[in-house]
């Protein structure tokens, strides 16, 4: 699917959609990431890393929020990717999602890009 076709489901259940056609894996994570689905997010990303797809971009432009359970999963995957020379780059931080990154000090714990294009560039390096 084309990038601009990514459906916004802000506030809804978590959805993870892969955007085809990029060298790094680009995933849209939309809806809510919370204690109920953080493990699913972690296992989806962990499976990518284990399959050798270690350059990963996560686009959060349609994410309503992510609670601490999601941050734990994400940090775990970030470490997993780093250990095998991969990169996890986040983009699309906005609204409450960005605020939670700031409150928790997570802006300094992850590689964060201002735009998806920049994120893809950084994940490719």
């Amino acid at each position: 699917m084309r990038d601009d076709q990514a459906r916004s489901v802000e506030g809804g259940r978590m959805e993870i959609m892969e955007v085809a056609g990029h060298a790094p894996v680009v995933l849209h994570v939309s809806g809510r990431v919370n204690g109920a689905n953080a493990a699913e997010l972690g296992s989806r990303l962990g499976a990518l890393v284990e399959s050798g797809r270690v350059a990963i971009v996560l686009d959060f432009s349609h994410l309503a929020h992510m609670t601490s359970a999601g941050f734990r999963s994400l940090l775990h995957v970030d470490r997993q990717a780093s250990e095998v020379g991969g990169t996890l780059v986040l983009c699309g931080l906005q609204g409450l999602t960005r605020e939670l990154f700031e409150i928790g000090g997570f802006l300094d714990m992850f590689t964060i890009a201002a735009t998806r294009e920049e994120a893809i560039r950084r994940a490719t390096l």
């Binding site: 506030g11 204690g35 109920a36 309503a64 601490s68 997570f106 714990m109």
Partner: protein
């Protein structure tokens, strides 16, 4: 503090969420035009969840349904969902850490009043005072790249009030998010 939060005689600092079921009419002529009024639906909702992480999604949907119907703006509904997830997550991780998943119940109650929305969480687990638990130092967490304690940081940042009680072998946590008048 919300007017709906009243004293309970046997609680340490004499607070409880009072049951409420009425409609408030909030005058806001400046924002809505002369004579128009915003209606804030008061009331309360209760829910019982089992001590399983999967229940957090059901609780999030329940909270959004009630709060949205009670006139809480979407932005604050999202904050309420974060607060609920963190607070119940703490119950699962601390107070009920030793309980088999699905073996215990956690009672939730939401109370909407004109000034905001209150969330009450009651569990019968080990004593855990989320309001008194030490809030981690952000800089130290960043340096160590450790996510631990983020939930408490989120609770303190997003909730306008947080009070914890130990009553009759139960933990009771009350969190309040203020809701500005519509306009």
């Amino acid at each position: 503090m919300l007017s709906g939060l009243r004293t309970r005689r046997n609680s340490p600092d004499r607070t409880r969420v009072r049951l409420a079921s009425r409609r408030h009419r909030v005058d806001n002529p400046g924002a809505r035009g002369e004579g128009e009024q915003a209606v804030v639906q008061s009331g309360e909702a209760r829910m019982v969840v089992a001590n399983r992480p999967e229940e957090l999604e059901r609780a999030a949907l329940w909270a959004a349904d009630f709060a949205t119907g009670a006139g809480v703006p979407a932005e604050i509904v999202s904050r309420l969902q974060v607060v609920l997830d963190e607070a119940v997550g703490n119950v699962l991780a601390h107070a009920l850490a030793d309980a088999a998943p699905g073996s215990r119940e956690i009672s939730l109650r939401l109370c909407r009043e004109a000034g905001g929305i209150a969330l009450e969480i009651i569990d019968d687990g080990a004593p855990f005072d989320a309001a008194a638990a030490p809030v981690p130092d952000v800089a130290r967490r960043v340096a160590a790249r450790r996510p631990g304690g983020a939930g408490l940081l989120f609770l303190h940042a997003l909730a306008d009030e947080m009070r914890a009680f130990r009553e009759e072998g139960r933990n009771r946590l009350v969190l309040v998010l203020r809701v500005p008048p519509a306009g």
